[in-house]
C-alpha cells in the first residue's frame, strides 16, 4: 500500500504539532517529552521524535502528516521522516529570534527534499510581530534560488489556514490537478 506523506518542519514553537493536529482527521499522535534544554524557556513540552496525523480521503486512502522535531540535534530524524514525502510545509515563528535566519537554516537542511518535491512557507505569530513581512521571506527564497514559493501568514490552530498551505504547495507541484 502506498504511503503518502506531507512533512511539517520548522523551529521549536513554530506550531508544527498544532498544524498537524488542525489538519488531521484523527486524534494526532505525539511523542512529546518534558523539555530539558533551552526549549524549556519557550514551552514545557517539545516533540522528540515526531507528530503524526492523517487525512482521510473520499476513496478511503490516507495522507499521512508528519511533524518533525524542531531542535537541530534531532536532525537525523528529518531524513527518515521525509523519505517518500510528497511536499514540505515549513513553519517559521515570526515572533522570536531572527525568522529569516531560521528560514535559511531550514531551507538548507531540507534543500534536497524541496528540490525533489516542493515547499510552502507558513509564517506564524505575525500578530505578535509583523516584521519581517512576507515579501522579505520571498526575497530570501529568491536569494536562495527557490523562486516564487507560497508564503502565507498562518494561524497553526486554524484548519483552513493549514489546508490552504497544503493546497498551495500541491498547486506548485501540479497546477493542472483539479479537485
Amino acid at each position: 500500500m502506498s504511503h503518502y506523506k506531507i512533512i511539517f518542519a520548522g523551529p521549536v514553537g513554530a506550531g508544527k504539532s498544532t498544524a498537524v493536529s488542525a489538519a488531521s482527521d484523527i486524534p494526532p499522535i505525539r511523542t512529546e517529552a518534558v523539555a530539558s534544554d533551552e526549549v524549556r524557556e519557550l514551552k514545557p513540552n517539545t516533540t522528540v521524535a515526531l507528530d503524526y496525523g492523517a487525512m482521510k480521503l473520499a476513496d478511503g486512502s490516507t495522507i499521512h502528516l508528519y511533524g518533525t522535531p524542531g531542535q537541530p540535534r534531532f536532525d537525523f530524524m528529518w531524513e527518515i521522516l521525509t523519505e517518500g514525502g510528497i511536499a514540505l510545509i515549513l513553519l517559521i515563528d515570526n515572533s522570536r529570534g531572527d525568522p529569516l535566519k531560521e528560514l535559511r537554516f531550514y531551507l538548507g537542511a531540507f534543500s534536497g527534499f524541496i528540490r525533489k518535491t516542493a515547499v510552502a512557507i507558513g509564517v506564524t505569530h505575525t500578530d505578535l510581530r509583523a516584521t519581517p513581512r512576507l515579501a522579505d521571506f520571498q526575497a530570501e527564497l529568491d536569494r536562495a534560488g527557490f523562486g516564487c514559493v507560497p508564503v502565507f501568514e498562518v494561524d497553526a490552530r486554524a484548519r483552513r489556514d493549514v489546508c490552504l498551505l497544503i493546497e498551495a504547495v500541491l498547486s506548485t507541484i501540479d497546477p493542472l490537478a483539479k479537485a
Binding site: 501568514e153 484548519r159 490552504l164 497546477p175 493542472l176
Partner: protein, 405 residues
Amino acid sequence: MTAQTTLRLCHSGMDSRSLYAFEIFLSRVGPRACEITGEEAADVAFIDIDNDLGTYLLEGHRLLYPSRPLIVSAQSPGHGDDPLTIEVTKPVGLAAFSAALEQVRRLLPPTTGDRPRSLDAAALESADDIPDEMPIEALLGHVAPRPASADPVALLRQLEERMSTFYVGSMPDVNLDDPAARAAIFYAPELFLQGEIARALAHAREIQRPVRLEDRSGTALFLDPRHGLAYQARSTNALRALSQLPTRGTVNMARVEARDAPQVAGLDSRPLEALEWDVALWASRGRLPRGTDLDHPVRLHCWPNLTRLAVPPEAMRIAGLWSRGSFSLRDTVRTLEVPQRYVFAFYSACHALGLVEQIATPAALAAARLDATGSTPAAAPPMRGLFKRILGKLLGARLGEAAPG
C-alpha cells in the same frame, strides 16, 4: 382567519435522502404552508448550520441574497444577530418550524394569491405512517435511503463557482483574436474606486496623515497607510456596489481631522491590503487593467497572502502555474482550462498589490512559448489522481470556514 400564502422554500446542502425526509416533514407542517422551490425563486432558505458546509452555506446565501429570510437549524443556536435569520433548535419539531415560517411571513412584503404545491404527493402518501410530531432529524432514520445523487466534491465546486460571481462577476469568455470582442475584457482601474484608493493612499503617505474617501452619502472609507489599516464605514455589499462602477467624480478625498476620531473609533479595521484586493476584484469583474498584454509572460514576484485575502476561484492553480514558469494570460486560460474571468480577475487583483508584472523581453517571450508548448503533457503525472483527491478534501476545508474579512 386569512388564507396563508404558500411560502417558497429552498434548501442548501441537503443530500437526496435528507431532502426526502424534509419533504415529508414539510407535508405535516400544514396544508399549503410551503413548497420546495429553486434557489432563485425562493422566499426563504433553510440551512442546517451543523452540516459540514453549514457556515459557508449561511454566509454564501447571505451574500447572494442579502434581503432573504433564512431559517437555520442548529444544535446550539446563537450564530449571530441578523434580524433576517431565524434560528430553530434541533431536534426541529413541527411547532417550532411552523413558528419560524410565521416569522418569515411577517418579514416578507405582502403578496396576493396562493401558489400551487409541488411536493411529490405519491411519495408523501407512502409516508403516512410516520407520526406527525416526528422531528426532521428522526425522519432521516425513518425514510428509506435514495441513491446518492451528488458527488460531494462536485457539489463543493458548484458552490465555489456560484460564490465566485461575488468576486469575479459572470462575464462570458470572448474570442481573444477578435479585436472588437477583446475590447470588453479591459477596464481602467483609475476610473474606479480602485483608482481613488490608490490616489488617496499616495496622498496619505505624502502628508503622513490618514485620509478619508467620501461620496454623496458621506464617508465610505478611512485609510491609514502608516498602520496599514482601512476602516470601512459602509457594508460590504455597499462598498462592492461603489467599487463596480466608474466613480465619475463622485468620490472625494480629504485628510482625517480630529473631529473624525469618534466615527473612526466605532469602526472595525482591516488590513489595507485586503481592502485593495477586494476592491480590485470588484472593479475588475473578470477583466484586465487597460494596457495588459494577453501574450506577454506573467511573472509572479510573490504569492498573495491567500490565508488572509479572499480566494478567487482557481487562484491556487493559477498562482501555482505562474510559480513554475512563464505563462501568458492567454496560455494560462488554455492550460488550466478555466474561464477567462478567473485568470483575468486574479491577475488584476495581484497587479493592484504589485505582485505581478509582465515581461516583454525577447528571451522571456521565447521561454513562454517553450513553456506553453510543454505545458500539456501527453500523460498526466502519476500523482495527479492522488492530488485530485487531496484537493477535493481540502476544498471542503476551505469552503467550510469563511475567509477572514
